[in-house]
């Protein structure tokens, strides 16, 4: 089983979301970057579990500059065997997916696992783009994955429930909560990660079809109207008559 896990960096969930350069850039001052939780907790861990069951390798891949190396080392500490960083500046998901599929096209991975979205840009685009560039199956928002020989059985979140799908390998998955449980790297893993192979490859000149030109913050709430708990019933009439929400 040759497994590839695509990882991305994302600001820590407690980061202050602020912008600089006249609101055209995300202000990274004081921001701690983490492995995007969906990539780490679910995609990477399920990849490792399958490797433990069936043998094989788990490679992680990230697109971007050397500022990604700490999160790549984290993924290696959790248990990935080796890593690839494609040293390209990708401004949109299209370019990221193109870089990954160009690299992967002759490597015959059986399974390409991605988180369902990043918690920064919430795109949910890279896995589907990779699947189409490679012309292979794509299971979107997967919560379960079992492999039997060359057949993958996958359960995905869909409108109103879940769907059980079957596909031949290779396949791309975008994975959501339920797929696996977060693993905390231990000391041995962290030590081992230092010497695992991280190969840096040049980019293949992928196209950026769009780019961010400005950011803004949502309008602040005008304030909270408090209702006395002894007259809690009043809330229901306010929701009906004032907020017109029920």
């Amino acid at each position: 089983m040759k497994i590839l896990v695509c990882i991305s960096k994302a600001p820590d969930t407690t980061s202050k979301i602020l912008f600089t350069d006249e609101n055209t850039k995300f202000n990274e001052t004081g921001v701690q970057f983490i492995v995007n939780p969906y990539d780490e907790w679910y995609a990477l861990v399920r990849g490792l579990e399958l490797k433990e069951q069936m043998g094989g390798t788990v490679t992680v891949i990230a697109v971007g500059g050397a500022e990604n190396d700490p999160i790549i080392r984290k993924a290696l500490a959790i248990g990935a065997d080796d890593a690839i960083r494609i040293d390209a500046e990708a401004l949109d998901a299209f370019a990221v997916a193109q870089e990954i599929s160009n690299y992967v096209s002759d490597k015959s991975y059986d399974l390409i696992l991605c988180g369902k979205e990043t918690i920064s840009y919430n795109g949910a685009q890279v896995p589907g783009l990779i699947a189409e560039f490679m012309d292979i199956a794509f299971a979107s928002q997967a919560i379960k994955l079992e492999i039997n020989g060359t057949i993958a059985t996958i359960e995905c979140d869909v409108q109103g429930g879940t769907e059980v799908l079957e596909a031949n390998l290779p396949i791309v998955l975008s994975v959501a909560k339920g797929m696996a449980e977060q693993r905390i790297p231990n000391m041995r893993g962290i030590m081992a990660a230092r010497t695992k192979k991280l190969e840096v490859m040049p980019g293949s000149g992928a196209t950026n079809n769009c780019e961010v030109v400005g950011y803004s913050l949502p309008a602040a709430k005008s304030g909270c109207k408090y209702i006395d708990p002894d007259n809690a019933e009043e809330l229901i009439s306010l929701l009906r008559n004032e907020a017109k929400a029920i």
Binding site: P37, F94, S120, G161, K221, C224
Partner: protein, 318 residues
Amino acid sequence: MSVIVFLDNKDGAFVKSSLEAVNYAANIASVKGVDCIAVSCGKLSNEVLESIGNYGASKVVSNNTENADNSQIASLVSNLVESNSASIVVFSHDFSGKAVAPRVAAKLNAAIVSGVVELPNFDGGFTVKKSVFSGKAFADYKVNSEKAVLSLLPNSLDVITTDNKAEVIADSSDLGTAKMVIKEFKKKGGEGKIDLNEAELVVSAGRGLKGPENWGMVEELASVLGAATACSRPVADIGWRPHHEHVGQTGVAISPNLYIAIGISGAIQHLAGVNRSKVIVVINKDSEAPFFKAADYGIVGDAFEVVPKLVAAAKALN
């Protein structure tokens, strides 16, 4: 020219988020002075197909293939884009949109902007606003390519309907072989339960409820209001509630008209998934709970005393 929009269906009807997408696509089409053509896959009655005109599509192209996979639907949509020389394709940023839209973008070499919340701005170019950082901010994306795929964040825009009917065009084109086989559909929750992703009203509870045995009053309030139920992450992690109810930055992101949070502290990661709700009610015994800063209405009190009163008042209203 024309704007193409994909429509998803379930149980013989179009899903609500798709109807919003059609309305959005029709609005773009009218700004551009072109047609809005909807495209649907699966067997549907003529009446249902025509009704999409109510939402602004002038035509609906209907392919009868049942259980098509995302690669087949992507072929259907992109063929239609090519044959109409369309430059904008619209999806809902719902489950089906997330599965199909990226494939279409790859096929068409198009820019893809997902989770858009406003009509694009065509003054001197093409920019469109989308939600980023899990609802904590917006970003304006500039489209640099000839074609663009936009997916609309559910419950972002009001839907305006008319009595117009769409012209139904049967499509029997070959969608190629499926890459995946659908084995089974498992319906979520019980009969009559409202799906969290589609819900306009949501009643949610957190660790303040002390244990799973206390969810009766939460479910009752939800049922009286016609709301879906949700929960905070720790509550799903310890197994008090199912995973699919977990809302927040690492769970489901929702934007209902009303979100009632009971015994939830309002951690930044929780707020990130619910802060786009139109009206937020917070019930918490701690007046310092951070959630009150994001609330429109608040009750500082014990959930075990407050919620039964709300249930009674809501019942009296019905």
